[in-house]
């Protein structure tokens, strides 16, 4: 469903270009969920943005459903991939009601039955009719993230791109959103590509997990292999240890000095 072949993504051009992702090859089958982990600046979100068509890529090829896509896309191609962002406080227009936020994609894509679609998608993400005419500031963080998911879903996409969808949320709300995402994936046969720094969250939703560091895909492993500590790269091992909580022994005294600028 998603194929990236030798993709390099750079910000800027010429001698000042900053290569954010280098020679990345990855494929996600239809209905599969693949996660990507890595430290900040590793390029994981950049990959999502290039797949979504928010930024161009320099070399290589990105294919969605077998078709090569560039930054310029047809309406149908845009409809196929939708994205949910990390911060539900920043990704919704503060002066628009939920109804207006959801009506916008319908207008842009000239879909019929707008009214019915909004009502249906709200029910699907677990929001009631009473939420429809509220502004984002009248909703909790979890409710806002549900609106963001509804906005992506209303176009009936085949691919859902998730950029840290639960990291701004409390643990109990995170569980609700993760359950919602699993259910939507099952009901709609969605293909998912998800980015997070939380290994447990990624492993909960995704079968395969890619580990990125400094713009490169170090390895692709499975959630099961991660859980059994079968990983090949040092960086992945470090991620696993950090994820388990604070472990004094994992920090050798020399290692404290390693973090440079």
């Amino acid at each position: 469903m998603i194929t990236l072949d030798d993709v390099t993504i750079a910000y800027g051009s010429g001698s000042r270009a900053l290569v954010a992702v280098r020679d990345l090859t990855l494929s996600v089958a239809e209905g599969e969920a693949v996660g990507m982990v890595g430290e900040s600046g590793s390029g994981k979100s950049t990959v999502l943005r290039a797949v979504a068509g928010l930024i161009p890529y320099a070399t290589g090829e990105i294919k969605l459903a077998g078709r090569r896509v560039d930054r310029r896309r047809t309406t149908a191609q845009r409809k196929m991939t939708q994205m949910v962002f990390q911060d539900p406080y920043g990704s919704l227009h503060p002066n628009q009601t939920v109804d207006q936020i959801l009506a916008m994609p319908i207008a842009i894509h000239r879909l019929d039955r707008g009214e019915a679609r909004i009502a249906q998608v709200l029910a699907e993400v677990g929001l009631g009719r009473e939420h429809r005419y509220r502004y984002p500031h009248q909703l909790s963080g979890g409710q806002r993230q549900r609106v963001a998911i509804a906005r992506a879903l209303i176009l009936e996409p085949r691919i859902l791109l998730l950029d840290e969808p639960t990291s701004a949320l409390d643990v109990s709300v995170q569980a609700e959103i993760l359950n919602l995402l699993s259910r939507l994936r099952r009901d709609h046969g969605l293909t998912m590509l998800m980015v997070s720094h939380d290994l447990a969250v990624i492993a909960h939703l995704c079968e395969r997990i890619g580990v990125m560091s400094r713009g490169q895909l170090l390895e692709i492993t499975t959630a099961t292999a991660m859980a059994n500590n079968q990983v090949t790269h040092d960086y992945t091992r470090q991620l696993l240890r950090s994820n388990a909580g604070f472990d004094r022994s994992s920090v050798a005294s020399g290692e404290l000095d390693v973090v440079a600028g």
Binding site: E39, H197, R248
Partner: protein
């Protein structure tokens, strides 16, 4: 446990609201010795407000009431702003979440650390500078002379947080309150920053209050954990035994966490019991 550094009994923080008073913290009691105490809870549980109340950072219209709020032999109730300014830094210090916002952007990090030393210990510029360089070394910064001259935007998040720790500890406080000190950092850097806090707190015999929403982190790092919900302490446990927590809220939170190696089709969602809101004795 050894001597008590901080004693808090029936601490309440109230803010006036449109529909009556909002009680952000309700009857919280605990004592802190030379140990690492964790406070966990979700957003709005009152964990940060508790920390701010101890620092004297709850301004009007917020109101603080307590039967006891004592730092060593100093009564913090009704202490003036001037009195608090003397205590902050020297006896009790606080590290906040994001060094990007808590450091002064137009002053080099070294000068900021030295300023703390000067104002609390009335030291000369030269002594303050030397102490700041030593402190930078203590937080494992390799080239203190170079880092001293850098401005906050020139340092990484992990380094910025170490600068904050250096600044907070330079005047030798007895207690460090760390409010989500590593939430803005990458997981791999988190461990290193926590190890530095751990080393310094132990070697100086300080008391630490670690405020966090991260249950794994708190249970693996601290000695004792307070679980807060809706402004109250629902439960206190030995950190290593958080998994055996009794309160349904704590158990619900733990169950709702996704776990590596234990993949469940559906995560159990927390069912909030209205009874948890009721005032505890």
């Amino acid at each position: 446990m050894t001597d008590t550094l901080l004693a808090v009994r029936n601490l309440s923080v109230t803010y006036p609201g449109d529909d009556g008073d909002v009680r952000a913290v309700r009857n919280v009691s605990f004592t802190l010795g030379r140990e690492r105490l964790g406070i966990v809870g979700e957003s709005g549980s009152g964990k940060s407000t508790t920390g701010r109340a101890i620092m004297g950072l709850v301004g009007p219209p917020g109101r603080i009431e307590a039967d006891e709020l004592r730092l060593g032999d100093t009564d913090l109730r009704g202490l003036s702003e001037r009195g608090f300014r003397k205590l902050r830094g020297q006896r009790i210090a606080m590290v906040l979440q994001d060094p990007k916002y808590s450091l002064d952007p137009v002053m080099s990090v070294g000068q900021q650390i030295a300023e703390t030393h000067r104002s609390h210990l009335r030291s000369t510029n030269r002594d303050a500078r030397r102490a700041a360089l030593e402190m930078l070394q203590a937080v494992h910064i390799r080239d203190p002379e170079r880092v001293y001259t850098l401005y906050p935007h020139q340092v990484s998040g992990g380094m910025g947080q170490r600068v904050m720790i250096a600044m907070m500890l330079i005047a030798g406080p007895d207690i460090l309150i760390a409010d989500e000190p590593t939430s803005a950092l990458d997981v791999t850097v988190q461990t290193q920053v926590l190890a530095i806090i751990d080393d310094l707190v132990r070697s100086r015999g300080m008391g630490l209050i670690l405020i966090s929403h991260n249950l794994h982190l708190v249970s693996s790092f601290c000695d004792r954990v307070l679980v807060m919900y809706a402004g109250q302490v629902l439960e206190t446990c030995v950190a290593g035994k958080l998994a055996e927590a009794k309160h349904p809220y704590t158990r619900g939170l733990l169950a709702a966490l996704p776990q590596l190696g234990n993949r469940r089709a559906e995560l159990p969602q927390l069912q909030r019991d209205p009874a948890w809101m009721a005032d505890l004795a």
